[in-house]
Each structure stands twice: as C-alpha cells, then as structure tokens.
C-alpha cells in the first residue's frame, strides 16, 4: 500500500493534571530517511516519542505505524533512550538478551563490530564509557531489525568519536530502507542527518518541513528564534 505513510499521527493529545503536554498533534511521515524532532526543553519531544513507541497511552487521538494502531510496543519498532539502560551482564549477553530468538553468535559479533565494540564483548556492559554504552544500546535496537528506529537524544554529551560511529550506523540503517525518528538539540547533527524536521513548541507542532527548507528559511518565528540561538519561552 504505497499511499499509507509509515507513521500517521492523528489529533494526538496527552493531558496530565489538566495540562496539555501534547496538544492536537497530527502528522505523517515518509517511509524512509531521518525525521528530526527539535524544539526547546519541555516542548514534549520525548513524550511524543514515547506515544509513538507505545510506552505512553495518549489521552486521545491515535498513532499508526505501517497502517496499524500502536497499542503497545511492537516488533516494527525499536527505541534507544537518552540514558542507555544496560543489563548487569557483559556486552555480549546484553545483545543476546534483546536479540530475536535464534539469533546466532556470528550475527551478534558482527553487530558488535559495526559499533567498534568487538574487543569489548566479554566486558561488563556497565563498565563501558558513556559513548560505548550508547553504541551498544543502538546495536541492540538494530539487532531487532525494526522498520522504525526511535531515538531520544542518544548522542547528548557523548564523545565525538562515538557520535560519529552512531551517526554512521543510523545513516547505514536508513540507506537500507529503515526509517528513523530522532530527537536532537544539536543543530549541526540535524543538518547532517535530517531529511525533514518537526519543530515542537509547548506540545504543538509549530512547523514540519524538509530539512533543506527548514534550515534556510524557517516559517515560524519560534523556529527562527531557536535556530538563531535565542531562548524561546
């Protein structure tokens, strides 16, 4: 069904204690490329991702991925959190735990090589550096062969070498037909990776445009201010 977008969000609202944290969000997205979600802190970026991934049930509205309503996590999607959550086991065992049943050791070792972690596979995962931990979390997500990869600021405060490896893995994933939705504060990173940009402010989608257009000529004054490095309230 070529006319069904991979992600389709309709009138999504999330209300907690009478406050609309997400307010009537509707959007759809193409089947490939990297959609960057940007906006100031508290705009609702992480909540939008959690609704998309099925971790939070919206107050009303609906989220569809591949034409199916998202009622909980599905095998279509994989998510990487801002702080990597790693089991108290070694690197290899962390991947083994999350990999689909029947995944063999060769596949896991290959995945570790792509994240430059092959020589660390017997180390306790929680003794890795922050960058290595996040690389491990990303290959763990990729091992599940998702159609949609959901990333919540995975590279915030990481070393440049790790950011480079992670961006490489994401580009590789999208070049092979995967779709990524990516929350980031890093304008440079959004320029490097983004095919389209969603700009959130106070729980609303203020702007959703192609990356090229967004960075040259943003429509909304909030996005303009944000790109100019101003604080927006």
């Amino acid at each position: 069904m070529p006319d069904t977008p991979l992600i389709e969000i309709t009138n999504l609202c999330l209300r907690v204690n009478n406050t609309d944290l997400l307010d009537s969000i509707s959007m759809s997205s193409k089947d490939c490329g990297v959609t960057m979600v940007m906006g100031p802190n508290g705009a609702g970026k992480s909540l939008l991702l959690k609704c998309l991934h099925g971790l939070i049930k919206p107050t009303f509205g609906s989220v569809k991925v591949s034409g199916e309503y998202v009622l909980g996590p599905s095998t279509n999607q994989a998510m990487v959190f801002q702080t990597p959550v790693l089991l108290r086991r070694n690197v290899f065992a962390n991947l083994k735990f999350a990999a689909p049943p029947g995944t063999n050791a060769v596949t896991i070792n290959n995945a570790l090589s792509t994240a430059h972690l092959a020589d660390k596979k017997d180390l306790p995962a929680r003794l890795l550096s922050g960058g290595e931990q996040q690389r491990l979390a990303l290959v763990r997500a990729l091992l599940r062969k998702p159609k949609l990869l959901v990333l919540d600021e995975p590279t915030a405060s990481l070393d440049p070498a790790s950011i480079q490896i992670i961006e490489g893995l994401i580009q590789d994933f999208t070049e092979h037909g995967g779709k990524t939705i990516f929350v980031s504060h890093d304008i440079g990173q959004a320029k490097r990776l983004g095919s389209d940009i969603i700009f959130l402010h106070k729980g609303r989608v203020v702007e959703h445009s192609d990356a090229a257009r967004f960075f040259i000529n943003p429509k909304s004054k909030e996005a303009k201010a944000y790109l100019n490095g101003q604080l927006i309230v």
């Binding site: 991934h53 971790l55 909980g72 996590p73 599905s74 095998t75 994989a78 998510m79 959190f81 959550v85 089991l87 108290r88 086991r89 735990f97 999350a98 306790p124 995962a125 929680r126 003794l127 599940r144």
Partner: protein, 233 residues
C-alpha cells in the same frame, strides 16, 4: 567467665568434638534447607509484587513487611498445632523432626526475603521498565532477568533470612523438641546448656555460632565487592 568461654569455644573447635559438629552441621542443614525453600517462594513473589500493578498490592506488601516482626514463638505454636498428631497435618508425623524445624524457619524467612526482594527489584524496575516494555519481554522472562541482574544485591537479602533462621530458638524448640542427635541444633543446645547452668559452655556454643555468621557474612561481602567492581551490582 568470658575468657573461660572463649578458651572453651576454641578448644571445642580444635578438639573436633563430634557432638559439636553434629549439632553445628544439623543447624546449617536445617537453616539452609529452610532458606532454599523460602527463597524459591519468596524471590519470585517479591519480584512479582515489585513489577506488577494490581488492586490490593500495597496491602500485601504491608502484610509481608509486618510479618517480618513476627515473634518466632507464635510461628512455633502455629506450626506445632498444624503438625500435632491431633492437628490437621498430624498424619504426616512431622512433629519433632528436622522437617518441622525447616517448616517453622521457612515461615519466619519468607516475609523477610519477600519484603527485601520487593524493595530491591522495585528500584531496578524503575531503571529497566521502559526497556523491557520496549523489548516486549514477557513477565516470566522479566522475573528471571530481574532476579539474575539483582543477584548480588539479593545475596544480602538471602543472608538476612539465613541469619534469622539460624539464630532462632523459640520456634524450633517447640516444633523440634530439642531431641539429642535428632533435632538438637546450636540455639536449642545453647538454651539447654544455659538451663543446666553450664554458662561457659553455652557461651562457647554462642561464640561458635557467631563465628559461622562472621565467616558467611565475610564471604558474601567479598563476592559483593567483587561484583561491584565488575559493574554487576
């Protein structure tokens, strides 16, 4: 008196007094078996209480916490009335056997291990919950994963249970009967020697019991420190 007790304790150990070793070995066997049976029940129970949400959960948790302070004599009486030949389980002929002592100690330990497990896993759950949800880990697998990843923290819990079991006298005296060569263990032997006025010998037995506790605690501390260094705790 104290110096006499210490020298008596060491000469008891050094002389490999067969009666002492019999009593000691039975104490350890009874308490270990009680601990093992209690853990098989309480570890998964505490985990389920920590990771699931249902009505009445708080009440159950409160109940187990309160049960931690249950007087052993009351447990002893309860088990006695159950196992008495005129009681409902009399035909099993378990009264005045090591099995009766195991049952009583088991009842004493279960609330401790359940409550402490609940606390430990609840904390781990805050960290793992979103990941396990995202990875679509089913409850059975989650329970095993939580227990395995918390294994070194749970060692302390299990140790607390063992301490309660092996140091307890009120319940085992009633249901075991302190029968020589059959149900006499360290604590009931101490009570007996005290009542015979052999205070130095009673204290010496207490010192031996204390030394076992010290050795076990030291071993667990070493394992935990090692695990902490390895990022597994």
């Amino acid at each position: 008196m104290l110096t006499q007790a210490f020298s008596e304790a060491f000469s008891l150990i050094a002389s490999a007094n067969p009666d002492l070793y019999e009593i000691l070995w039975l104490s350890v066997k009874v308490s270990l078996t009680a601990l093992l049976s209690a853990s098989i029940l309480a570890l998964p129970l505490g985990t389920i209480l920590a990771i699931s949400e249902f009505k009445g959960k708080r009440a159950i948790v409160t109940f187990f916490t309160a049960m931690m302070g249950l007087p052993p004599v009351v447990v002893g009486l309860f088990v006695y009335l159950m196992l008495s030949r005129s009681g409902p389980l009399g035909v099993l002929e378990l009264l005045y056997t090591p099995a009766a002592m195991i049952i009583a100690q088991c009842i004493l330990i279960v609330p401790i291990v359940t409550s402490l497990t609940h606390q430990i896993i609840e904390e781990l759950n805050r960290e793992y919950r979103d990941l396990f949800f995202s990875l679509r880990i089913d409850t059975g697998r989650a329970i095993f994963a939580y227990l395995w990843d918390a294994r070194f923290s749970l060692l302390t819990t299990v140790l607390a249970g063992f301490g309660r079991a092996i140091s307890e006298v009120g319940a085992v005296m009633i249901v075991g009967g302190n029968i020589n060569h059959l149900t006499r263990i360290m604590t009931t032997a101490i009570a007996l020697e005290t009542s015979k006025g052999n205070l130095a010998l009673a204290l010496a037995l207490g010192i031996v019991l204390l030394m076992i506790a010290l050795v076990v605690n030291a071993l667990v501390m070493i394992v935990k420190t090692f695990a902490m260094d390895k990022g597994y705790a």
